[in-house]
């Protein structure tokens, strides 16, 4: 059995949290990993510098979509500044399974989109 596909991840993949778009969102950003076609879009509503609402849509592999789903739960209600602190390791820890090098970009696509949305940093998060 593939360790990678723990029930937790498959659950987020099958039942993504915060899935959808926000009309009149304060921030929207979309990006893709052209190597495998994974795509994630994040919409946010900001109140007092905090993420009042966050939604995502996307398509792609289970890892990319599950990690985007987990990420929205992690940052909902958080201060926008806290996103700067969020590291690749935080996401990898949340996924809770070893991610092989070839799949790391799948796992980090959501974070990349979030950081781009919040700060315009378009590099891949270091890990």
């Amino acid at each position: 059995m593939a360790d990678l596909y723990r029930e937790n991840i498959l659950d987020h993949y099958r039942n993504p949290r915060n899935y959808g778009t926000i009309e009149n969102a304060d921030i929207s950003y979309e990006d893709s990993n052209p190597l495998c076609g994974d795509r994630v879009r994040i919409d946010m509503r900001i109140e007092d510098g905090k993420i009042a609402e966050i939604k995502f849509t996307g398509r792609g592999c289970a890892i990319s979509q599950a990690s985007a789903s987990m990420l929205t739960e992690m940052v909902e209600g958080a201060d926008l500044d806290e996103i700067r602190e969020l590291s690749a390791q935080d996401i990898l820890d949340e996924l809770g399974v070893p991610i092989s090098p070839a799949r790391v970009k799948c796992a980090l696509l959501g974070l990349k989109v979030l950081k781009s949305a919040a700060y315009g940093i378009t590099d891949w998060p270091e890990h």
């Binding site: 059995m1 593939a2 596909y5 099958r14 495998c36 799949r103």
Partner: protein, 420 residues
């Protein structure tokens, strides 16, 4: 090489062949390795590994011009490898077989050297939607620079080229070159290259064949095909990485300007300018990969001993078996033609599970396949998919490997749940 005594003449037993490949004796994640990614790169038999080893232990030197024994010896080995290549593709003259790094460099050489010297504004280069990026991107670069146009021949429902479109372009535009892959790496389609060459030549166009997926897998005869250029990679045909071949018609190669400049490709260099060496040196600037060429020669010997007809027959059988077995896995969609014009490559999807997820789970079962766009994004766009999973076969794969693939796909379905 192992002896193949129990199999009828002209065929071989893939399980015995596999014994010649040290890497395939490994286990991965505790499972026996089932290597189904030979279209990306093949594994190497012991004779090739040993040829490389022996080269560096006993024969290594820079070639040409060295008048000492070791250098003459290395030069002789390098020339011998070139002769083996020429015989393998039935090239009339070994000097028209240029050693390069890989098929990609060979295709770029044609685009840069022939293309930049011969394409005029308003000219057309015809490619196909089955091409690998290596036979697209260089032409995009060069046609943009020269003011020429690229046309892409579309495919029909089965993944076969629409030759009526080719005819249309040949009739209505000033086509200078038709670039076509002999075997499509993402679908396995074997294109009718001799037919395409006849039509292109009738219209005055040259024909460049990307043989990266054909030369390793079937008899390829440049004279019978009557084409103008053939590009292929050693690493996909049991040889080492770092060596590939561009064959071209001698008179065309002779008329082309050089590509890379440097040592050994010149006749004379002065501060005012330079003149070029004869073929093949003109296109082989700098120190070549002599050891890798020697390794390629050993790979050709190995393939020749198996017999290229037998290699093709084996792959025809195994792909037929694979298509049958995979069709039995619920949720599998198969791509590409299903006739005689199908090589040992099977692209598929499974429900709407992303191919990367498929490949990751297969990996945990020891089954190595490729997942992605296979460097054929225009084809993926045309098929309306982002990616496919792809299993590809070679001389060391047997029906057992196909069974392992099919079983592992059932595991994927179990993990993702039916209708996932």
């Amino acid at each position: 090489m192992s002896t193949h005594t129990t199999t009828p003449p002209g065929t071989f037993d893939a399980r015995q062949v596999k014994q010649d490949f040290p890497i395939l004796q490994q286990t991965v994640h505790g499972k026996p390795l089932t290597y189904l990614d030979s279209a990306a790169s093949s594994q190497k038999p012991l004779v090739v590994i040993e040829a490389l080893d022996a080269y560096y232990r006993a024969s290594n030197a820079n070639i040409h011009r060295g008048v000492y024994w070791l250098s003459e010896h290395a030069t002789a080995l390098y020339d011998e490898a070139r002769e083996k290549v020429a015989r393998f593709i039935n090239a009339p003259d070994p000097r028209s077989c240029v050693f390069v790094r890989n098929a990609t460099e060979a295709l770029n050489l044609v685009a840069y050297s022939w293309g930049r010297a011969n394409l005029e504004p308003g000219d057309t280069v015809v490619l196909t939607l089955l091409e690998h990026h290596s036979n697209i991107v260089p032409w995009q670069i060069v046609t943009a620079e020269r003011g020429a146009t690229i046309r892409y021949v579309d495919i029909d429902h089965d993944g076969r080229l629409r030759l009526d479109q080719l005819d249309h372009y040949l009739r209505t535009e000033r086509v200078k070159l038709v670039g076509v892959t002999h075997v499509a790496n993402a679908l396995g389609t074997i294109n009718p290259v001799a037919e395409i060459a006849a039509r292109a030549h009738a219209a005055g166009a040259l024909v460049l064949v990307d043989g990266a997926q054909s030369v390793p897998h079937m008899p390829v005869d440049v004279q019978a095909l009557d084409v103008d250029f053939l590009a292929f990679s050693g690493h996909k045909m049991l040889g080492p990485m770092g060596i590939g071949v561009l064959w071209g018609r001698r008179e065309i190669l002779e008329a082309m300007p050089p590509f890379l400049g440097g040592g050994d490709m010149i006749r004379e260099v002065t501060t005012c300018g330079s003149t070029w060496a004869d073929l093949p040196a003109k296109f082989e600037a700098g120190t070549p990969s002599v050891g890798d060429a020697v390794g390629l020669g050993a790979a050709i010997d190995y393939l020749t001993a198996l017999g290229m007809d037998a290699v093709r027959a084996h792959e025809r059988e195994i792909v037929a078996y694979a298509l049958e077995r995979l069709a039995q896995v619920p949720g599998v969609t198969l791509y590409g033609p299903t006739g005689e014009d199908r090589a040992g490559v099977v692209s598929f999807t499974l429900d709407d599970i992303h191919p990367h997820d498929i490949a990751s789970i297969l990996d945990s079962e020891g089954v190595a396949i490729r997942a992605g766009h296979h460097c054929a994004q225009p084809l993926m766009d045309r098929l309306g998919v982002v990616a496919t999973a792809r299993a590809s076969f070679y001389v060391y794969n047997s029906e057992e490997d196909v069974d392992r693939l099919a079983d592992a796909l059932q595991t994927v379905r179990r993990i993702f749940g039916p209708g996932a």
